[in-house]
Structures are given as C-alpha cells and as structure tokens.
Amino acid sequence: METFKPKMSGILFLLAFSMLFGCKNQEVYEPQTHMVEIIEMKFHPEELKVHKGDTVVWINKDLVSHDVTEVNKAWASPALANGDTWKKEITKNEDYFCSIHLIMKGKLIVD
C-alpha cells in the first residue's frame, strides 16, 4: 500500500500535466499565411478575412508592375514586377490600394 501511493500520485500528476498541456495547446493559435493574387488589374480576393497575426502574401501575376499601399500610406510595398511577391503580418483591419493604378483597391478584415 505504501508503494501504491507514490505511483497513484505520479499518475495523477502526469494526468494533470497532460490536461494542462493539452488545454494550452488548444488555446495557442498557429498564424496562417494567405495569398492575394494580383491579376488582370485587380487584387484577388479584393476582400480577405484573416486572424490577428496572420501573414498575407501578395503575388503579381500581371504584365505590368503594381504595389500594395495602405490607404493613408502608413506602409507600402516596393513596386512588384511580374512574378514578385511581398508579405506583411496583419494585426488590424487594413484598406489598401495600388499607388500605380489608383482604381485597384483591397481590404483585409481581422476577425
């Protein structure tokens, strides 16, 4: 009986530890990466829902250069030639456009 007690408490400790570890594991969000294609003079998709901390990658599939510029010019990518990519971690809602082709607009919404 004396030898059982430590074993039992050991099992209980391991059970509690694994439950705690398991719960923690469920709470931690693994940031995702999303793609926005620039094609035929549009951002596809024009509106994208992401989680805080996710990364968005823009890829230019057009013949002409584009950029990705925040609507108040708080941040901007360099000019992206055909095939170029640019990425940014998203922490809040963002409205953006192409400063080369002002009619091209996009939106990121953080859930």
Partner: protein, 178 residues
C-alpha cells in the same frame, strides 16, 4: 399633325443614318495578318507613350504626371512582351493602313497637345487619354483579338485588354477632378 409628321421624318433620318453608318463601318473593318496586328499593337502602345512624355514635360499637376508615368511604364511593358513574342515566333511586324492611320492621328494629337497652354493642357491630355483608350479598346476587342491567328498573340492581346480598361477608368477618374 404637322408636329407628328416632323417627328416621323426626324426618326426616319436618324434610322437611315445609323443603318448607313453601321454598314459603312462594317465594310471598313480591315483584315489584318498576325504581322500587321503586331505592328498595330506596337504603334498603338508607342503613341500613348509619346503623349505621356509630353504630359510629363508640360503638366504641373502631380496626379496627371503620375498617370503619365504609369502610361509610359505599362505601355512599354506591353511593347516589350510583344517584341519578345514576335522575336520568338520569327514574325516581323508589318506596317499597314491601320498602323499608318494610328501614327498620323497621333502626330496630329501631339501637335494639339504641344500647342496647349499650361492652363488648358491637363484637360486636353486627359480628355484625349479617355478617347484614345476607348478607341484602342474597341479596336482590340473587335479587330485585333478576333483576327489574331496565333494563340500566343491572341493571349497577349487578351492580357493587354484589362490593362487598357484600367487606364481608361483611371483617366475617367482624373477627368472628373479636372
């Protein structure tokens, strides 16, 4: 009764004019080979680059200058792709009635733009950009794409179309501000 007869007459004349003009236009649709289409595409793009260089020199409006810079970069990119393609296909762009007409019209437009004062230049340039892009989009849709025989040439023209449409929308946006 007199008023009614007059209205009928006016409608009749209008209908006749539309029918006549439509058939005349239909008869005038040129038939172009791929080498001629390539020439039209290069000339049409080069014309807009030439207009843009005048704007970059004469305009004092940053939005107009930025638009002109975009026209130079985008139309040059299309020309580069066209040249790369015809080189690959072993086709030499062939001058023709359409490309000659485009070039002559462009010379008249450049004279007109150069004659404008700083006060009137921006409106003249942007108005021309709207009209020019509408005309080129129409030609690409109704003549160049349907007549292109080579698949890669057709694909290049189809890729250029949204670029031209975006330019038109951008020019119309500027036009409203001037």
């Amino acid at each position: 009764m007199k008023k009614f007869r007059k209205s009928v007459l006016v409608i009749g004349v209008l209908l006749f004019s539309i029918t006549f003009l439509s058939s005349a236009f239909a008869q005038e649709v040129p038939t172009l080979s791929d080498a001629e289409i390539a020439s039209v595409a290069v000339v049409a793009n080069q014309n807009d680059i030439d207009f843009a260089y005048i704007a970059m020199e004469k305009s004092e409006n940053p939005e107009v200058v930025n638009f002109a810079k975009t026209m130079v970069a985008d139309h040059q990119a299309v020309i580069d792709m066209a040249v790369e393609l015809v080189t690959k296909l072993g086709v030499t762009p062939m001058d023709n009635a359409v490309s000659k007409q485009y070039r002559e019209n462009a010379e008249a437009t450049m004279d007109m733009l150069k004659s404008k004062s700083a006060m009137t230049f921006d409106k003249a340039y942007v108005d021309n950009e709207v009209a020019y892009h509408k005309a080129v989009i129409d030609a690409v849709k109704s003549v160049l794409i349907p007549q292109a025989e080579n698949g890669e040439l057709k694909a290049l023209l189809e890729k250029a179309l949204p670029i031209l449409e975006a330019h038109l929308e951008h020019a119309e946006m500027l036009q409203k501000k001037l």
